[in-house]
Structure formats: C-alpha cells, structure tokens
C-alpha cells in the first residue's frame, strides 16, 4: 500500500503555537475602517479617543424644576421656600440643559405650586442634585476603548455617544470548507445513499460551528478523491480571497488520503496529527500566499474536535480576538472512562442534575457517531497524562448547553424503549421544556445507577420467574436500602423479530437451536436478555446452542436492523421495533416496563413533568399507536406482586 506517515503527533497547544509562528497575521488580515453601527464583535485595531463628551452640557437628570441650590438651603418641612418662575426656577424635563445659574434639579414629585405659579420647596436641594454633569459619562480626548477590544453592543453605543462614527477594526477570516470523497453525496441534491455512500454533512457542521464562533465561512461542493481536483478546488478558493481553506476528510494516512500531498503542493504542512482522541488525523499548513490550510478528519466527531480546538482558535487569533469558550462545570462521572496515555481524550457526556451534583454519563465513544455530539450536554477533556477516570470522580466538563438547560435535563438510565422517544418529544413540548437524555445500559445498569445516586429515573422491565413479578425482586436484591417508587410506563409485547413473511418459519424459542438460524442477542444485564434466558431455560436450550448468542446489541432497533439486513435471522425485541422496520413479529411474552424513581425525587419538577405526561390520555393513545403496547397501568404506582395484573 502507498502509505503516508503522520508527522509526530503533537499536543493541541503545541500545534497552535507552531501555526502562530508560521502565519503572518498582519500580512494576511489587514485592518479596515467600517461604520460603528456595523462593528458588533469586530476587534478594534487601535485605541479610540472620545471626540465629544457625554453629556456635552449639564443636563437635568429628572423631570422637575431647575434651581440654584443655595436659594433652597433654608427650606424645611412646614416652612417652605417660595421660588418664582423664571427668576427662581425653570421647569425642566429629563435631558434638558440646565439654564445658566442653576445647579440643581428638584423632582416634580417634591414641588407644589401656589396660585401664582410659584414653586414651594420643603427640603433643601444640594448642589448638583439630579444633574448629569458635563463629561460625567465620557470626556472628550480621553480613551473610550483600547485596541484589541472585541466590540459589544454597549461599546457601539458608547462609541456613538463619543462621536466616533466609524472605527478601524482588524480584518476577518474568510473560510472555505471543501468536502471531499468519492463516497460522499451532495446533500443539496437530496440524494438517497446506496451501499458505500453517505450524505455529506460535515461541511455543514463546520460552516455552522464557524458561524457560531463569529467566523465567516462558505461551503463548497464536494470534490472526489482525486488529488488534481482537490488541488484545483483549493486554488480556486485561495484565488477567490478565502484566507482559510479547510479540506474535508482525507487527512488520515490511508491509500486515498490525498490531503497532505495536496497541501504540500499548495504550500507547506506544519502539523500532521495531534495528540487528541477523537481528532488525531488533523492537518495544518500554510499556503504560498500565507493563507491557513487545514485538513479535517473524516469522522464527524474527529472533525468537530479538530475544528473547534485548532481551526477556530487560529481564525480568532488571526482576527485578534479570544476564541469563544464554553462554560465549565464540575461533573461527577457515572462510569469509569479509560483513556490512552499520551492522548488528550474528549469524552462526550449526557449530564443531568441529581440533587446538588451534576452527573455525567459517558456516551458512546466512536468518532463516527454524530449522535454522541447531539445527545451530549457536555464534553470532558481528559489530559494526555490521564490514564482514565474512575466512576464517581469529578471532572471539569465544557458545557454544550447553558446551565439552565442542564438544570432542565432529566437523565433516564437503564433499558431502552421506544416510548422514551415519545416522552422526550412530549417533555420538550411543555411550557417549561424538559430535555430528556437517555443512557442505554440495560435494566440492571439502571438500578445500579439509582443506587449510586447517578440518576433520578431508571427504565426497567426485569422479569422474575420465581415470583412472576417485575423489577421489585431485583430492587430488593440490588438496591435494598433505596426507597423507590415504581411507576408503570407501559405493558409491552416482546417477541421474535423475523424478516417479513417469516421465511425460516420461526415459531418460538425452540427454533433458536436450529443450525440454520442466526440470532441477534442483547447485551448482558438487559431485561430482554434475561427474558430470553428464562425462555431458553424453559425450552431446555443451552446458550451455546444458539448461533449469535454472543453477539450483543444495545437497543431493540439495532436488533431489528440486524434482521432487516439479513445479518441475523431473528432477535428478541418489542413489536414497535419490528413494525418500524416493516418486519415480522412472533409474540413471545408481555412484560411491564416501569420507571423506577427514588421517592425523594418525586417532587423534582422534571420528574413531576414526566409523570404528568405518562398519565396524560393523549400520550397513552400515542403509545398505543406504536403498536404492541398496552397502557392500562401507565402512570400508576406499582406494588410488589402486581405482575401484569395491576392488583397487589
């Protein structure tokens, strides 16, 4: 294979330093003069001096009368001083200039007038009372704002008040984002992807991340994996005045990773590979004309990390301003996170408040999972020296959402069920929206999370054959000290998901032992797996007789996808999953899916909102519409021994 090697992977801060040395900021981005009212978030190229004072005159700060303070010094309650209009006082409105000889304003509320129109004052005014004096806010000739200031809305108003109608600001980065790849489809053509094809979307992510950071960015049409085409597209962008060119994908070191070679022809490569996971295959260089060149990794999470930590800070630096930073918050990790020493690790987290703590549940780590970013409320950067963080340890997390939104986030840990999506949507439709973040770790994982105080709510459907009951026996065994309210979400139908028409005539668990049947299993601890094991035992089938028993999926839908694509011949799951993918379904059992909620959390407004929805007949109808659900028990608190009957 024709392989390009990485340069030494370097820590992110070193990569930034290296590029700042190679880029000639002043040559690349020249200052410009623009109208002040257009200068929001621009950066002052030099100090700005006030041309006018503000106010430019002594001004009344209240509606009332302007007086000479010393004429009122004798005023007392019950013994008023009388001032004649004109000689003794002048009526003024807020903002009026103080007439010659007046140095105080008395509020209208504190003045009465006699029949002759004279003002009666019952308290002395002190000099300069309710007067805005010349230059009180801004003094002509003084500094209004220093160079390097990123202009705020307040700054613009101050500049205009000071008579500064245009400002010299630093130039701006202009970024071109050029997606690449033979396999990518241009989303603007609304394509249907075939095997080996993907809808290109990284470019939209990068352009909009830039927009959020105040950087002007434009997306180009995708370019195939052809070095000449890639070089031509980049040269076109440079010729059009883009001073930052980002090439999407192809920055790795595989046979079709042409970006580094192209970058070498356009100028020089400075960094190839950073010590970050995800984000490692990033490329940074400088074009012949001094422009910044970047190669973004192909996986969306890698691209996002490399872009946020490398490209955006460099663009902001070019503009002379600080890169926007996310707020940080200490977050307690719910699970152990291993980390490779020598690499900074960016762990996406679902975060919710549990009591006074914020608890972070590490999301799936694959760099290809865009949903690990959309489902995350925060990201924790584990430093290169870190070999991992233990469960229960606290890390500093960068927030993707505001702390208010975090406070309104409810993390549901445990088993996966499709009704959770309905709940998530309904919760967002409330007058005070609640964001539901779910972490799928199986029913047993949910109970473990409750007992270690990592969540306020767990979804579970654990069947106990001995008592013919759900969840309570497991709570008694694994969380004996926890006072938990068990609220039924729904009774659902589990069964064998088979291809449409059931070509292999699978009729029940007995067929799983057939050598021509490949099964798709769920992960250990999942209620569905426990149910399977129960039925296998009843049928006297050993796990090693089931082909695919060791292949674990984490959701019903993933099991259904296996069946849909022929990877498996059947799997155990809910009816809704079979129906959604237009598959066959062989009913096996009804089971109760409960929400387990520590009783102390029942008052929490997020939990209250959740329960209100579960008890809403409209929501229950919506659940039944999914198919395979019964809602007679939905929203009712269960007691031990109720089983599917609803009576204790």
């Amino acid at each position: 294979m024709n392989r390009t090697l990485y340069l030494d992977t370097v820590p992110i801060p070193d990569a930034l330093t290296a590029l700042k040395k190679e880029l000639d900021r002043d040559a690349l981005i020249a200052p410009e003069t623009i109208p002040t009212d257009q200068a929001l978030s621009r950066v002052l190229a030099g100090p700005v001096i006030a041309r006018y004072s503000s106010p430019t005159f002594h001004a009344a700060a209240m509606d009332g009368i302007a007086v000479a303070a010393e004429t009122t010094f004798a005023a007392r309650e019950g013994s008023p001083v009388r001032l004649s209009p004109g000689s003794g006082f002048t009526s003024v409105n807020t903002g009026n200039p103080l007439p010659e000889g007046r140095d105080a304003v008395i509020m209208a509320e504190h003045v009465t007038f006699d029949a002759d129109g004279a003002a009666l004052i019952e308290a002395p005014a002190f000099p300069w009372q309710h007067v805005r004096r010349i230059g009180e806010d801004i003094v002509a000739t003084e500094l209004v704002l220093p160079r390097g200031r990123t202009l705020t809305a307040f700054d613009l108003a101050a500049l205009l008040s000071a008579g500064v109608f245009e400002v010299e600001v630093t130039g701006t980065a202009r970024m071109a984002v050029i997606p690449t790849g033979d396999e990518v489809l241009d989303y603007t053509e609304r394509p249907v992807p075939g095997p080996g094809q993907v809808v290109e979307s990284n470019s939209v992510m990068l352009v909009n991340m830039a927009k959020n950071a105040g950087i002007r960015a434009e997306r180009f049409a995708p370019v195939p994996d052809d070095p000449a085409a890639l070089e031509a597209a980049a040269r076109k962008a440079l010729a059009a005045g883009f001073n930052v060119v980002v090439l999407g994908a192809g920055s790795s070191a595989g046979t079709k990773d042409y970006t580094r070679g192209v970058m070498e022809r356009l100028g020089r490569v400075v960094v190839h590979g950073v010590a970050a996971m995800p984000g490692k295959p990033a490329l940074l260089g400088v074009a012949e004309n001094g422009s910044l060149l970047a190669g973004a990794p192909g996986y969306p999470v890698s691209a996002a990390v490399a872009f946020e930590k490398l490209v955006l800070p460099l663009c902001c630096w070019l503009e002379g301003r600080a890169a926007p930073r996310r707020a940080r918050l200490p977050v307690r990790l719910a699970r152990r996170v291993p980390s490779r020493p020598g690499m900074e690790e960016f762990v996406r987290l679902a975060v919710g408040r549990v009591g006074e703590d914020y608890v972070g549940l590490p999301l799936a780590r694959g760099a290809g999972l865009i949903t690990s970013l959309t489902n995350a409320q925060a990201v924790a950067a584990l430093p290169a020296a870190c070999e991992g963080v233990e469960a229960g340890e606290t890390v500093q997390a960068e927030l993707y959402v505001s702390q208010e939104e975090l406070d309104a986030t409810l993390v549901v840990v445990g088993s996966h069920d499709n009704t959770l999506d309905l709940l998530a949507d309904a919760l967002m439709g409330q007058p005070e929206p609640v964001r539901l973040a779910s972490s799928h770790v199986g029913s047993m994982g949910g109970i473990a999370a409750l007992s270690s105080r990592q969540a306020l709510c767990a979804g579970a459907h654990l069947f106990d054959p001995e008592t013919n009951d759900f969840n309570f026996p497991f709570l008694a065994r694994h969380a004996p000290d926890l006072d938990v309210a068990v609220i039924a979400l729904a009774v659902r139908h589990q069964g064998l998901i088979v291809p449409k028409g059931n070509p292999k005539n699978i009729a029940g668990v007995a067929d799983l032992a057939r050598p021509d049947v490949v099964f798709a299993n769920r992960q250990r601890g999942a209620g569905t797996r426990i149910l399977l094991d129960h039925h296998l035992k009843l049928a006297k089938i050993r796990p090693d007789q089931v082909r695919g028993y060791d292949k674990e999926e984490f959701t019903h839908m993933a099991v259904a996808v296996n069946v849909r694509t022929g990877t498996a011949d059947c799997g155990l799951g809910v009816y809704a999953a079979a129906k959604a993918l237009d598959l066959g379904f062989v009913p096996l059992a009804r089971e109760r899916y409960d929400l387990l909620i520590p009783r102390a959390a029942l008052d929490d407004p997020r939990i209250a909102a959740l329960l209100a929805i579960v008890r809403d007949p409209a929501f229950q109808a919506h659940v039944r519409d999914l198919g395979g659900y019964e809602t007679d028990l939905s929203g009712r608190e269960m007691r031990p021994g109720m089983g599917l009957g609803g009576e204790g």
Copy 2:
C-alpha cells in the same frame, strides 16, 4: 403638569408572565419549512424522524482488510493465519462497505503480505471489530431530535445524515427599534451635538443586543417627541410585518413621555413600570394585531436592563426557545452596595481575580452612564428583598465576559491618572492581552483595597510633608502588615488648571482665597486633595475660605471639564488634563505616582505584563508625549526616603 401615572410597578418575572398570557404566540409566529443547512439556532416545530439510517451499510471503520472473523481465530504471534486475496480477505479503506461474508476489519498496520499477496495475521479478529454497523449512529424511523430543540451545528449534520433535508421550524421575531426624542441627533448624519442635544445611540445598542441573542432587529430613523409622529412610525413598522416594535425613550411619566398614550392607541398596555433599578420605566403591551409592543427607558443602562430582562426573553419565548443566559460566578464585593427594598437592583461590577477569589468593584450607578456597562465585566442582580450587600460579601454575578477574559483582567484601584489609559491600551496589545479595569477611589481607597485583599495593584501619589516622601508613610500607617512593592509609574506635574490665557491671573494657591475665584476640588482621600490641603496649610488658607472646596470631582479630567465650561475658575490637577482640553496650567508641584503591588502578586502574569510595559522605553516615551510627566524612575522599585530623587 400633564402627568401619566405608572401602573403598579411589578417584579420582572410577573411582567413576563403577564405578557405571555396576553400574547398569542401561535397566531403571531407561524412555523415555516426551511432547508436544513440554513436552520442553525432555529427551533424545531415538531419531532424529526430519521429517513435514512447512518450508516446505511456495515462499513469499514479503518483502512485495512475485511475478513470473516472466524477464519482468524487460530492466529497467534509467530503462528500466523494465511488468507488469500479474494476468497480470504478484501482490502478496504475507511468507509467502504463490508463485502458479503466479512464481519471484521484488521488494521493495515497489523497485516503483512507474503510474496503471493496473501495476508498473514498474527492475532485473531473478533466479530465486528473495526466495523461501523448499520444504524450504529442513526436508525431510520427513530426520533432524531424532539420538537422544541434549538438546532446546533451538530444537529444540522445529524439531520442531513438522517436524510432530513428540510425542517419545520418556529417562525422568528422581527423587531423594529424606533428611537424618539426632540433632543436626539441621528448618528447616521454624523452630527455635532449642541447644548441640549445628544447623539442617539440606544437604538444601536438594542439592535445589537438583539442580534447577539439571535433576534432579527432593524433600527428606524429617530422620531420627534410628537405622539402623532410616533404612532405613525409604529403603525408603519407593524404594517411592514414587524411583530415586535420597541419605542425608544418616552416611557417614563413626564410631560413629554408620550409612549404610553401611543401604545394605548396601538393596542393595550399590560405593564408600565417594573420593580427594577435601573429599568423601572419600562412599558410592555400588545398591538391590535397581536404584536408585542415595548417602550424602552431613555437612559442607556435602564434601556439595556429592560431590554435584556423583558423584551429579549419575550422574543425568545415567541420563537419557542430559551433566552440566552450569561454565565454566573460568585464574586466578592469590594464595597458596600445599598439597595432599595422592593426593587431588584442591577449593580455593574469591575471584576478581577485576586488569588482564588473574584473581587467585584461596584461601578458608578447612574442609569445614564453607558461606560458603567462598557467598563463592567459583570452585573449582580440584588433581589427586591435585599436592602444592600456589605463589603466582603459574595454575590452571584452574571458575566459580560468569559471566565478566561476575567482571569486576564487586572483591576487597578486607587488614584486616577491618564497614563493608566495608555497602560490599558498597551496591555491589550500584548500577545496575551490583559484587560485593565480601573476603579477610581483615590489613593487612600487604593491602599484600603490592597489591605483588604481586593486588588493586586493600586495607584497612589500620597505626599507626606513630614518626610518629604511619597506613599511609604501612608502604607506604614494604614497597611502595616502588608509587604508591598512600590514601583514608580511616573513623576508628574500637578498644578492649577485655569482657562486658556488665565483670565483671572491665578498665580498660586494664595489666589484660591479670592472671593471671585471658584475652585473645583477632588474627593476626600484623593492624593491631589491631600496635596491641596498641604499647600493651603503652607499658605495659611482655611478650607472655608475657598469657594467650591466642598464640590468634589473624581478625576483630573472632570476637574478640567469644570474649568473648560466655566463652572469653576480653577482646579488642581495634572498637566495632561489641562493640555487635553486646551486649558492653561500653573505648575504647583512635582509628585511621584506609584503602583503599589503586594509582593506576593509580583509573579502574577498580569502584573508581570504590566511591569514589562512600564519598563518599556517606547511606553515611557508615549507617557512623556502626554506632557507633564517625567519617566526617569518609571518601572523602578522605590524605597522609603527616595522622594523624587530616586536614591534612598
């Protein structure tokens, strides 16, 4: 006077609730369908379901070879399994679909090839190793994002990956900002304000605050104080499709405050007056066509508060999203802040880090001071029930800047000197910019701030007649336990600032006792005032013999402005202030202006940057260019007894 009364002033949350009841959100803002790539920060009107899975096929997650995992199970180090091309393996690049019959990928780095092109494998591959399975990221038919989601850059990429090329989102607020007032000048005409006139700038502040909050807003030309003209302008905006109309100024209850009357003709007033300082004279109402009407107070800080706390949250609510919130941080108050019970009080703060603490210095409270917003790094909202906060107490402050910028902010407390502006500008020009926030409380106030650990640096020029020395005697007296490094900033010339040409022939302190001479004094604790008192004593003049002795200004420039405008005949101040306003100057004394820095803070990078600039010959030349400064001592550490000589 023709006076409109306020309605009952209501707390801000009640005002918001009242308006939400009166506004028909769905009627006012209809959902619309837009291309996904244009939907950043828009709000989903309904749940979005995936049309495609991602990936749509099992895909290689690495460059390497695709194999059937079970064919490799026997592989061991030194005893490789040999796989033939085609039948045994297929070369794949990242993203390629897995060929039929393959279920694992082995990384290129872990494969060697023999002369026949067969692959040699020395470790078993496990099933699905380095494979991205169908639907691993997104499953067709499942929820991608719930309704009410404010779309992020990540979300847009997820939606496109799921084949969602357009989205239904809530409509947007469209805001018109109409400034009003006979006294305001349209900044677009680059006017020169005469007496009673101001450059209108609130509208630009409000439009750009809206822009920062993601609200579309447009400024209209100013309208004079004429109810008919105001009504016509508002009707024009409503007719043009603006669904939020903000009328600037005139919302108070004075003779020329027409906004409420106009609003009553346009629809109805819901709130007039909120329990907030600044911000009280705010108006909120609903137009006949359902649009939101608002009257902003005239003072910029009032307008900013009312807009940020009332109008922007209502606009965001109309769009179905959470209003952006500023990050919060506990801040220790350097000074007591009184607060009127019953009113929520918004206190602007200069904030800097001192050790592990953030210390907030309350800025001037006038609602007319736009610089109290531009100089602030944070604002603290004191609740209505609060009667004030004592010095040293901690409050939650909302940050105007990032915490990183706060960490790079150096608060200099103490005496005012024009060279601090030069320092502020030079510090911002550093590779790692430092923001200088200065709080002018006089030299003695600076020493007090150091000894209560509220600042890392104080500016002082306290002359002690007994020892003929500066600052040290005062430090010994007022901060005996503090180990302070005293670094000279400059030697400066103090003198009597008089009108150009010195029309009253003021030759020295003796003339201050003349009955025809009005003096402008500095505040108690100011080094300049101490200097004056010393010279008065030498001249045997009592304070009560000096007209204007009791009138206090806080800066040299403010004193100079008094002289410039004829409010005073002379004042004591530095030469630079006289020169800046083209005034006369009668030299009185040379004095040393020092930076007092606790020795423990000398290592702080902000202090190090400050001292490096003070010692820079280019900076010193710049200081001398101001006039009235000598820089022979600048940057040198002083010792007791050095006086102006520089030798101990």
